[in-house]
Symmetry: C2
Subunit: 215 residues, 2 copies
Amino acid sequence: MPSISDKVIGRLSLYQRLLYRLKAEGMTNVYSHQLASLSRGSAAQVRRDIMAIGYSGTPAHGYVIDELIKSLSDFLENPAGQKAALVGIGNLGRAILAYFSGRRPRLSITAAFDTDPNRVNRVIHGCRSYPVENMVEIIREKGIDIGIICVPAGQAQQVANSMGLAGVKGILNFAPVRLQLPDDIYVEDLDVTTALQKVAYFARRESTKNKEVKK
Amino acid sequence: MPSISDKVIGRLSLYQRLLYRLKAEGMTNVYSHQLASLSRGSAAQVRRDIMAIGYSGTPAHGYVIDELIKSLSDFLENPAGQKAALVGIGNLGRAILAYFSGRRPRLSITAAFDTDPNRVNRVIHGCRSYPVENMVEIIREKGIDIGIICVPAGQAQQVANSMGLAGVKGILNFAPVRLQLPDDIYVEDLDVTTALQKVAYFARRESTKNKEVKK
């Protein structure tokens, strides 16, 4: 299969969630222009993205929602399941554990780590927690290939290094730093503070613009 | 001042945080190539970004960290303060409240809303919570111009509509939907599930690639 960009993967993941919603609302079929409208893309892009995973609808009936969900799941998820480790069980770490707890059978957070003795050797939102010293060993033992970093900025690179050493191949990074890692490790940054600062900046500009218009 | 793209704003926000860290480590000056290395950009890009906010360093001593932090704060933040409202006080909403609690004096989450009677009329991580029915009124009263959406996908559009009606000009959206809103409202999507699915997909590809190489 040809290599697919991370933007396309992001859109396929969004379609999958939109389809679950439409199915829950009782729909059985959906047209590309409907998915396009819900995902703020074009119908041509939706068709291209879905063609890339080897599924296609018909002009008369569009996509069969159940079939398309199955195709997307087979493509996006590992049927054998995939395991993630989370490091940093502060407020954000706990929220992530709670959020994903039991939600995706094919992708589970199997171990959590922290330096704080009060946070380890417990079960938090269904996930067992361990001292961070045991991280490399436990990631290897459990065959975990995904890491989730929820530690403060100053500790993130060191945690990422240990994850790489342990064999992790993909990292979801919530710490506001750019990690330096080998090319074969995929990193996705989710920087909540930067996102909020961007929103604040543009909100302010729009508010000012409106005031100027009103003058 | 000319319009600045959201990518540049994102980088400026990152520089600001990196500079706070360097300052905490005892540094007083920093060169563009050092900021470039920490932010995984080029030195030319760093210099261009910082020039855009009207500050410049010297070839001999680079940037004075204290001065650059001040320039960035003046540019990115409203000295008079800016207020945000959060809707959806579930696990993620609580984590966001805890995360930003007292952290940024110039940007505070001033009100939180939920439909669940057990979650409202309380103080959660320093923020007062209200029934969602009062949202439009309270956002207007308090002069809030930023909204943070932490509700499930099915409720997000309705919450966004109310926010727009109340005068919010920027939205940080954690719900996995693409919101349909007027052009004068800036939306930043932070989709945790999609991010994790992307990481899982690419981690799996890398793991497979390595196995193939080893064969």
